[in-house]
Structure formats: C-alpha cells, structure tokens
C-alpha cells in the first residue's frame, strides 16, 4: 500500500498539478500521516462510495481534480463506477484490488486468503479495464504494486485526461493480511514472476485467469465529451445566453442576511 501512495505522490508530482486543487475521496483508509505527505484534501467514505462522493466534489467545484480510490473488486459501488464512467464524470478512479494469489492444485488462481475462506475461492475476478473501457472510460490501465514507476507515469497522464480514467492496481492489503506471515513479499514475488507488460493491449484480452499471466500496461486512451461538457452544451443549446456555463458561476448566492 505504501508503494502505491508513493506512486500516487510521484504521479501528482509528474503531472505538475497544484496539490491544493486535488482531492482524494477513498473507501480505503489511508494512514493519515501518509495522506499528509500527499498534500491533498482527503475524505474517507463508506465502502464503495468514493466515486459517488467524488462526483459531488467535482460538480461542486469543477476546478478540482478528484482521485477516488476504491478497493476490493468494487463489489460495493460497482454501479457508481459503471454510471460515473457512462456519463464520463471527470474523475481518476484508482481501483486497488487486494485479492491475494494463492497456489491451489498446482495452478495460481486469484483467491481470498485462507484466513478468510478455509476452502479458498472459486470465483472469477473482474476484468476491470475491460469493464471501464466498455462503459466509455477515456483511459484504462492496470499495474501491480511492483510497477510503481509505470503506475506513477499512468497517474500523471490520466490526471490530464478530460473524463473518467481508471487504473486497476493489484496490491496486497497489509493491514488485513499482516497476520499471514510474509504474504507481502510472497505476493510481490508472485507478481514479479507472473505479470507481463503489454501496452495498448485490447482490454478484452486482459482478463486475469487461473493459468495465464497477469497482463499489465496502459490499455486505452481516447477522447469523449465529459459530463460537464455535455451539461453545458445541452443547456446552452436550449437556453442560449440565459445559461451560465458550469464552472464560471455568479459569486453571490442566496438571499440577504436581513
């Protein structure tokens, strides 16, 4: 996790953006002192709600760059991702998936750790870049906790995209698994041996399977009108000059203080 924070830090630095104008709503608790080092406004919200909360932040103040951080295969809040992406809300979604790889019956499959499930798992993981791309994300990528330099570069690129970008990050979740001996290093070794970089790969081919290698890389990068663009275009079309495009609002609001 710390390596990911470091990658976020470097990514923000490389993007050259003003940290005062960046906010991270996250459903994963960050270590407060680590957040401090990022120098952004940070919100910890309930499981799966970072994208919905972040949409409000973005609409409330369109100048801001919002980086919602979500985790655990986005089971809770998957629909916020689908619809946030569909409407192309300008957010950079970092999906940190902390499922732990285990060796079962000679094969490596994505499983929950034995600490959670005595019988391991038999479910297929989500192919997130494919989901994001299908819904219309303007930028999709996947990296592991090992690929910090590439991840930082992706974050820097995606922060300049207009629209919904998503980066899936495969990483161990140390606070959950700390009682499993050496899992972190075991997992990083696993990532090292079983991942392969394929930039520009069609995300349809990037599914994480039981026996194939984990495909990482920057998959797609395209342009599409954002929610706020469409909002402004539509209202200007109908209302003409009577409409003030969102982002340049009149200063005074509300009644007097009589």
């Amino acid at each position: 996790m710390n390596s990911i924070i470091e990658a976020i830090n470097k990514g923000i630095e490389q993007s050259g953006l003003d940290r005062n104008k960046i906010s991270i709503p996250s459903d994963i608790p960050f270590e407060p002192e680590t957040v401090k080092s990022l120098g952004v406004d940070y919100f910890q919200v309930p499981r799966g709600r970072a994208i919905a909360f972040g949409s409000g932040l973005k609409l409330g103040n369109p100048e801001l760059k919002i980086i919602p951080v979500v985790g655990d295969l986005m089971t809770l809040g998957g629909n916020h991702f689908v619809h946030g992406t569909r409407r192309n809300m300008e957010l950079l979604v970092l999906c940190i998936n902390s499922f732990v790889y285990h060796k079962v019956a000679g094969k490596s499959v994505p499983v929950v750790t034995e600490a959670f499930s005595p019988y391991s798992t038999f479910e297929e993981p989500f192919n997130f870049p494919h989901l994001g791309n299908s819904c219309g994300a303007v930028y999709t990528a996947r990296w592991t906790a090992l690929h910090t330099a590439e991840l930082a570069k992706s974050i820097a690129e995606a922060l300049h995209k207009r629209g919904m970008s998503m980066i899936e990050i495969l990483a161990p979740g140390p606070s959950y698994y700390r009682y499993v001996t050496d899992l972190d290093s075991e997992l990083l070794q696993f990532y090292f041996e079983n991942s392969t970089v394929k930039n520009d790969e069609d995300p349809r081919n990037a599914a994480i399977t039981a026996d194939g290698k984990i495909i990482v890389g920057k998959f797609t990068d395209k342009e599409r009108a954002t929610f706020i663009d469409s909002y402004n275009i539509q209202h200007t079309k109908i209302l003409g000059d009577a409409f003030t495009p969102h982002g340049s609002l009149p200063e005074k609001t509300g009644g007097g203080n009589g």
């Binding site: 005062n20 309930p46 409000g56 103040n61 609002l249 509300g254």
Partner: protein, 401 residues
C-alpha cells in the same frame, strides 16, 4: 417566471407543496441538487431543474439514492448548499449517507415526501410512517433535526429554516413532507431576498496550517473550510480526533460522538419549533404534525365553537421532540389526542413524556388524513369525558365511543 440571481422569486404565487419546496431551497441559497427521481417527490426536482440554470445552480440525476446523497455531501464540502429529494424506498437507501453526513458534520437538506410503506407500499399515497426512520434510521448514536410542513407555505418556509439549521449545527436536516402536502396547490407568499434570513456557513478563518477540521467551538460545532483552498485536511467517517484522524479507542468515541449528540440536545430550546393553539385552558390537547395538523386545527375550531376546551400543539419540528413542553402540558390536561398517518410513531414520544399523568389517545388514520376532522373531534370529545387516567397508549378506533 423570472427571479434575480439570488434565486428569490418574490411575490404571491399558487404553488404545489413540492414546487414551494424547490423555491424555498433556491431562496435559501441551495445551488446543488443530487437526486434519483421518485414519485411523489418529483415536482421538487422538476421545479429546481427548471430554475437552476438562471441562478447558476447545478444538478445531477445519479444512479440511485445512495449515490444521490453521497454526491450531495461531496458538493456541500465544496461550499455549495446542497440538497436531495426522495420518497419512501429512496429514503431507506439514503440511511448509509445520512449517518456519514452526521459523522462528517456536513450541512445538507434531505427532502422526504413520505408515501405508504413498508417495502413498495402504495407509491404516491401519503403517509407519515417514516418519522421514526428519520430519527433512528442510520446505525450508531446521533441526533437529527426534522421539520414537518403542513402547507405549501410551510414547505417554502421550512425548507429555508432547514438549510439554516443545517449550517448552524452542521448536521443533515430532514424535511418530512408527505404526498398530500406535496401535491396540494395553495397560495405561497415569497418575501424579498433581504427579508429572508440566511444562516451563513461557519467558516474557519485562522491560518491554514492551524486548521483542525473537528476542533469544536464552545457550542460543540466545528468550523468548516471548502476543499481546494490549500488547507489539505483529512476527514474520515471513522471515529476521529480534532485533526480528523481515525482513532480506534473507546475514549475517542466519547470524545467524537458525544458532542454530535450534545450539539443538538443542549440546544433543543433553540431548535424546537412548535405552534400552540388554545392550549392555555385546554383539557385535551391534540398533538399533530404535517398534513394531520390541518385536520387537527379544524377540529379545535369546531370544538371551541361547541364550547369544548380543546387545544392543539402542532409540531413544526418533529425532531428533536419537545419533551419539556409535552410533559408540562401533561400536568395540565386530561388527555392528549395524537392523530397520525401511521400505526403509532410520534404517539410513543408523547406517551413517554406523559409519565402516566394524562391519557394518550392514538388515532390512526389512513391516507385521507385531512378529511378526518370528525374522527379527531370525536376522539377529543371522548378523551375529555374520561374520568380515570390509564398508562399506555389508548388506541381510538373510528366509530368507537
């Protein structure tokens, strides 16, 4: 229909309750609406959406009510007064973020147009069955403020008050309307902008590096800043200290959550808004709220014409409940009559504050609340003739004598 940029549509209008609510929100300075459409609350959002562009307000139809309130909380932290509008099942979905709003002490208004439940119930039929949910619906300990309007004019007035209290106490405020009031078209008088009191947000004005997001003033309310101003704050829904850092100890729970309760409980006298009619010499007092109070007030009028000593206590705020005043009245009256469009919710609060000193008659009525004046009158008449005082709630049935 044209207002100035302040959003106040000054003048006399014929508006439905829902439309009046949207006007109230705009006049209060609400500039963000996050919603998921549901009847019978639809006209609030329709009216808001129609008027939003001319006053520079923003709106979004989210994918569900969970995200609608989440977006509202987010928008509130950017400095925009924000609200959401919903009904029955949507209100249930909002409970998660109602609790988050309390914990993050985020001002916002939730307009809930109550319909018949549970489950899918009778959509579009009015009820008052969510008042307990507005108080207890989210997990954990908290206090909430809830208004219950009974006319289109009150929809306008109380919406503004709801925004003011949410800023004053940094708490989500619920406006518990119902489908009667929502659809009812009445005359609404909107004053000029300078006649409307707007509670400003309590901003922190010290140096940036000394900002603590949850450091409380003497009245337990912390100061706020907008995001993106360089304060670089940390805010969490976990139990936290003044810095907003999560602290996982029981002591911190006391330190963090007790003030959330105290900031409302210790100021109940300032928050509670009740309207008493002819209670001075009353032997029976009808305690009602929302659209039921229309029938109750009519019953008082008719009873007085007959020479019966009957008064009314109308709850403009249902939460916090006016404990002190009800127990004071319990010393004076023979009985309370509580008509509600549910199977007994606020009547429990009344009974709790009576301490067995007066009878409590509960009058359940269905979704035709405003037509039940005769029943309320009959119940009050019966209550005034009771010679002994019983503990507990006496359920009064239509036609019983």
């Amino acid at each position: 229909m044209k207002s100035d940029k302040t959003g106040v549509l000054t003048g006399s209008h014929i508006l439905s309750g829902n439309e009046a609510c949207a006007e109230g929100a705009l006049a209060a300075g609400c500039r963000f609406l996050g919603l998921y459409p549901i009847m019978p609350s639809l006209e609030v959002s329709q009216r808001f959406l129609q008027r939003a562009p001319e006053v520079g307000a923003t709106f979004i139809q989210m994918e569900d009510e969970v995200s609608a309130l989440a977006a509202v909380l987010g928008a509130s932290w950017t400095g925009k007064k924000s609200m959401t509008v919903t009904s029955g099942p949507g209100f249930s979905l909002m409970m998660e973020h109602l609790g988050l709003g309390v914990m993050l002490e985020t001002p916002c208004v939730i307009v809930e147009v109550q319909m018949v439940g549970p489950g899918l119930g009778l959509p579009t039929h009015p009820a008052q069955a969510d008042v307990m949910q507005s108080r207890w619906g989210s997990h954990g300990d908290y206090e909430i403020i809830a208004y219950a309007p009974s006319s289109a004019q009150e929809m306008f007035d109380f919406t503004i008050k709801a925004f003011n209290l949410s800023e004053r106490y940094r708490v989500p405020v619920a406006l518990m309307s119902d489908a009667h009031i929502a659809q009812l078209k009445e005359s609404v008088v909107i004053p000029s902008a300078d006649q409307i009191h707007i509670e400003p947000r309590r901003y922190f004005d010290g140096p940036r590096d000394s900002y603590l997001p949850f450091k409380r003033d003497k009245d337990f309310v912390p100061r706020m800043v907008d995001i993106g101003q360089g304060y670089r704050f940390h805010v969490t829904g976990l139990t936290h200290d003044d810095r907003g850092y999560p602290i996982m100890f029981e002591e911190c729970q006391e330190y963090n959550v007790h003030p959330l309760v105290k900031k409302i409980r210790d100021y109940v006298d300032e928050i509670v808004d009740i309207q008493e009619t002819k209670t001075d010499d009353a032997e029976v007092v009808i305690i009602s709220y929302g659209s039921s109070s229309r029938a109750a007030l009519k019953a008082v009028e008719q009873a007085r014409a007959k020479g019966m000593k009957i008064g009314s206590l109308k709850l403009n705020t249902v939460w916090p409940f006016p404990d002190a005043r009800v127990s004071e009245l319990a010393e004076q009256v023979k009985a309370f009559v509580v008509p509600e469009m549910n199977f007994g919710q606020i009547v429990q609060e009344v009974e709790r504050n009576t301490y067995g000193k007066a009878n409590v008659l509960f009058l359940h009525h269905g979704d035709n609340g405003v037509e039940y004046t005769d029943d309320i009158l009959a119940a009050a008449e019966k209550a005034s003739l009771m010679t002994e005082t019983k503990c507990g709630i006496i359920e009064w049935k239509k036609g019983s004598t």
